[in-house]
Amino acid sequence: GAASTAAPADAEPKTGGDLVFLIDSLGATWIPNNSSISSYQGQIWGNVTDKLVYVDAEGNLSPWIAESWDENADKTQFTLHVKPGVTFSDGTPLDAAAVVANIDIWAKGRPDEGINRIGLFPSANYQGAQAVDATTVTVSFSAPTLSFIPTLAYHGSILLSPETLALPAAQQADLTQDIGSGPFVVEKVAEGDSVVLKKRDDYDWGPEAVGHEGAAYLDTITYKQVAEPTLRTASVESGQAQVAYNASPQDLDALKQEGLTVETPRYLGFVNGYALNTSVAPFDDIKVRQAVQHGIDRDEILSTVYTSDWHAAESFFQSTVPEATDHTADFSYDAAEAASLLDEAGWVKGSDGVRTKDGKKLSLTLYPNPYLQASQSVDELVDQQLTALGFEVNLETYDVPTYSQKVIGNTTVPATEITRSFVDVGAVAGVLTSQKKGDEDWFRLGTSDATLNDLSTRIATATDREARAEVADELQGYVLDQAYFVPLTQIVQRVYVQAPEVSGVTYNGLAYAYYLNAWLNG
């Protein structure tokens, strides 16, 4: 288990207590498929629903509602063995039939009725699921799908009562009608304001990895929306709440000094960094790309924007990803090296400090990623650092809707700032090139880089995890060597500031707070 706890080792868990969790937003709709991956609503779904598989902070998978599973040799056929005796909070059994109904809706959704499918579910290869008996489910795919089992641990794959799944979208959007099997049930919803969860007394099927039997300790959890970050932390400081979500990194040291606990779990996925667009100037030149890699002082970012809870990137992936390997040397900070790379590439510094080549300025526009809170500050600092190097840097900040219109999918954006989680390294294959329909082609290489094509295919079609890990290492080395990707820091997208009495909170591989095992001291 990966229970991180602030309580002294000898403290005995206490039953009872009400926890108030202050959150920036309660997200948009509550239609489960549409909202379960939300950074905000995911917090609540995680406590009111269970999943088939559990993933811990280090990316290890372990059984949960699926007691065990089998897979065939070419990883196209999976058999899940469902834990018996599990019920939804309305009393209906969580059996094989219910699992089939859930897998079906994850894979397909009901788009014509406004219900999305689960985005990262390997729907393209999905052939179907069958309940063999009350506790056995078989799932088949048309191609090797190593990512299927990890996906079951993904925050999107929450199990809901088949009756809920059959409801029309407008009723699913009412959280009180969404029935899960988790340790807490929804007690009260004030739209846009708060959600109150109440413990489910007969709960007894928490993930083995968490190491907790029976019902939760806490009586209730109140998720209360407070949009201002300082008001959230101030409320915890003044004892009006127990947890403040997403505090500003700048504040953390001071908060710790006041005796509060700060939790900065990292999720599995890519590090924060820029995917460079090789199809437009100046990043069509490898030397310029490398200059950016070496021109960024990550320590300064860590010390200015973040705190000691953040870690420098060591690779293209977060170091908690099991397949991640250390490639720090490929992109270490070296301003002199960066400058000489730019000189070599023919970019000459002018009197205003900006480099030019053939009359064109070395300019670059950065678009801070609205999904990452500190992105703005990081980009401002990168702006300062690259300006010193002779770049002319512009910052364009957009809100989420504008960002998704103007930046996402825009093939002229020179550098896209990445924040992206995944539970299985197989997902990486989909972002590197444009070999398959739906591939994202982050670096705008198309299929022009044969090495990358090959690496990407090998990751995607792997049927063996060990072998795939080696390919992943090779891939990380290649991408960083070609300077397609400029890593900045490892992402902590979810920061929790807690009152000292909060103990026993568990963070899974997606860094959501799970309160099954949590209690309040004193």
Binding site: Q250, A254, T304, Q376, D383, Q384, L395, D399
Partner: protein
């Protein structure tokens, strides 16, 4: 029937005004504040040698000191410098807002009041709609449609002020249009256009000036409010509203909120004072 005493009264106030034309100290101080702010926005480099966008990260969040008069922000940028440079966009955007309000609102009011009949009816309904939607809500809706940038916030603020200017202009035009000197101008052989541009417009716009000054101050606040909600330019821009809203995230560095807020209050207060003075003297 009451012409004579009325006139006596009017001439007296005119005489009284003649006595009072000296400018009060408070107004002089207000002009000084506004002059400094304008100087900030036209020649920021005169007031500070530092760079508003480049800071020394090691010096982050320093309290006010000799090196950093008003302290530094979370990236070690000098707050005073940022305020000085922020004046430009705060002032220009407020000017843009006022210009939109005055020009569009003034035009609507002028046409509605001067042409009357169905033009008046149509324009009046349009103005009613603008007026019926709370100004700040209207600005938010418009800025959400144009995109979250300071210039768009300024445009939105301007549009939300159109109704006020249109109404004042219209009633002024109606007043002037029916005044005796306009009829006199007609008797002197003046055409419609001549009367409109030479008599009605200059007279009607006189009362628009204090209103425009007042709106200038209000616009600074509205744009700051929009920036506060995140509907303006992002950092490293340093509009005052943005500085306040970014500063509030650092409760341990209260100067980050205090100084931009004080500068904003001082500026708006001075502008309001000037507007009041103009209204009283014009």
């Amino acid at each position: 029937m009451t012409a004579a005493p009325l006139l006596a009264q009017r001439s007296r106030t005119a005489r009284v005004r003649g006595i009072r034309l000296s400018v009060p100290v408070g107004v002089l101080a207000s002009f000084a504040v506004v002059a400094v702010v304008l100087a900030f926005s036209f020649a920021p480099a005169l007031f500070t040698s530092q760079n508003p966008a480049q800071g020394v990260p090691a010096d982050k969040l320093q309290a006010p000191s000799a090196a950093h008069l008003l302290g530094t922000d979370h990236l070690g940028r000098d707050l005073f410098t940022r305020i000085v440079y922020g004046a430009q966009s705060s002032v220009t955007s407020a000017l843009v807002a006022v210009a939109i309000g005055v020009v569009i609102g003034g035009l609507i009011g002028l046409l509605a009041g001067f042409l009357g009949s169905w033009t008046d009816v149509v324009l009046a309904r349009f103005v009613d709609v603008l007026l019926a939607i709370p100004a700040f809500l209207l600005a938010v809706v418009i800025v959400s449609s144009l995109g979250f940038q300071t210039i768009n916030a300024a445009i939105a603020t301007g549009v939300s002020a159109v109704a006020v200017f249109a109404r004042v202009m219209r009633s002024e035009v109606l007043r002037v249009r029916s005044s005796v000197f306009v009829e006199a101008a007609r008797l002197q052989g003046g055409s419609n256009l001549h009367v409109l541009f030479r008599h009605v417009l200059p007279n009607a716009s006189r009362s628009l000036i204090p209103l425009a000054v007042l709106q200038f101050g209000l616009s600074i606040l509205v744009i700051a409010g929009l920036a506060f909600l995140g509907y303006g330019d992002p950092p490293p821009a340093s509009d005052w509203g943005l500085l306040i809203s970014a500063g509030k995230d650092y409760p341990r560095a209260p100067w980050l909120v205090l100084w931009p807020a004080l500068v904003t209050v001082a500026t708006v207060l001075s502008i309001n004072r000037i507007s009041r003075w103009l209204r009283r003297t014009s």
